[in-house]
Symmetry: C2
Subunit: 275 residues, 2 copies
């Protein structure tokens, strides 16, 4: 599996991906899942991919040369001449569909789903930063102020912390930290997600990749996150009162009767009363 | 969907279940998913169920009367006369298979999976407490010292905190708190899990249900967990240093070069260098 996060903030974009790929438990490999496409000063785009590796590698390869015909009056649309991230994402959708045309029928014949999803975000000169989630049919949705992040792959373990922290006004470094905490929880609970991680932070308006790092198990910052977060979480957990069944004079009684619901159903041994 | 947790500790058992059921987004209902089967002083058993509601309701109903034939010499095996939780769980497996025989072919004909899973735990006089996870084929696995909890339904959001906290020596009330925190994270991130909750804590050797409560949105303890956990989590999060891209003299630099891995791949505009 895979776990990738893309975040669109007012201040910029954050991308984080793991690098584990598995085709069954005895076929585990390391593949990086982040790719940067850029023309410094003009456009900066990042793709994160999840799903079937043969599909995402093909999409990645095709994307740099994919064209959408715009008739004789205009040059074909590519990610290099698109005026907007929306149009660039249409090109990505077309690349996905091209791979589907090539491989879909054979995959189907062998019972393999055409399964791939991509986070595609960036900025093209003259336009605001944008981020899209592209599905395996080549269709896509865009991140908004209300929903400012996308996850692909093993997304559930790490979702609660993103839900609790991220808003469009979150500073870039804090969002990067949040993504790393989310990744740490996922690594802890799911073996199919693994190091190294690729982290990239893009500042609004730069139009080229600036801050990125490949994080392995020796990275001091990620080691700190890993040990501190787990330990502090335990401290917070221990700092919250345990529930008290004996009543006592606790401030937050557990044994408050529900207003609407009856006590639990119980089936007693037959011959006795059934509540 | 559903989210249920069963925990087997040295001190006893903890069961927690939500009560949301949905058959599509416009068919959302409240169904309790915990059932107690008991003969005080002799046996105490709890079943939590997830999956297709028609299946789990049928299993629940059949379980109290299900029999496994043991030949002419012995009375048929039931949950009421089983000498061990293992045998009682075999009866539960037989109940699942009976429902499969009744409903499986028709479900299959309409394209519905026979999807159900159950956590079944308790204690029978003369035996230690045991807990099992029963699959839709009626087969099952048992919780052990190394893996002391089971989850069914929407289990991923709430797994990291269980992974971090629970061991067989965790006290009962702390485990109940942990289950509630896990449920709170799941409720926050997934609409298909909902209140009220059923919480039951069983003390080793009691052989009858003792501490249980139905928790709705007015429950003071759960309200406290809900607000405190989210707030403290944010405080801990804010208390961890942000990553610094500018280097600086930070104690935990983010920009440590990876020992094994190269920097990220970048595709520049064609005509330029491709790294």
């Amino acid at each position: 599996m895979t776990y990738c996060i893309g975040i669109r903030l007012n201040a910029g974009l954050v991308f984080l991906s793991d690098s584990r790929t598995n085709a069954g438990m005895d076929q585990i490999s390391t593949y990086r899942k982040m790719m940067i496409y850029e023309k410094p000063g003009d456009r900066f785009m990042v793709m994160l991919s999840a799903g079937n590796l043969s599909i995402s590698q093909s999409v990645r390869e095709i994307l740099q040369v994919e064209k959408i015909d715009r008739g004789p009056e205009q040059p074909a649309l590519t990610i290099w001449n698109a005026d907007s991230m929306f149009d660039a994402t249409r090109v990505l959708g077309a690349a996905v569909r091209r791979v589907y045309d090539q491989d879909g029928p054979s995959l189907k014949a062998t019972g393999v789903d055409f399964n791939a999803s991509m986070i595609f975000g960036g900025q093209i000169k003259g336009e605001a930063m944008r981020m899209f989630l592209v599905y395996s049919a080549g269709n896509f949705i865009e991140a908004t102020r209300e929903t400012c992040f996308f996850q692909i792959g093993e997304s559930k373990y790490g979702k609660p912390i993103l839900d609790r922290v991220l808003t469009p006004t979150t500073p870039l470094d804090e969002a990067a930290k949040c993504a790393l905490v989310s990744m740490d929880s996922t690594l802890k609970s799911n073996l199919s997600v693994g190091l190294p991680l690729d982290l990239l932070v893009y500042q609004e308006g730069r139009l080229e990749s600036s801050d990125h790092v490949c994080i392995d198990d020796r990275n001091p910052y990620f080691q700190m996150i890993h040990s501190t977060w787990g330990q502090r979480l335990r401290e917070v957990f221990e700092g919250i009162d345990d529930p008290r069944w004996d009543g006592g004079d606790t401030e937050h009684p557990l044994l408050a009767p529900s207003r609407r619901y009856e006590p639990m159903r119980k089936i007693n041994h037959p011959g006795e009363r059934i509540v």
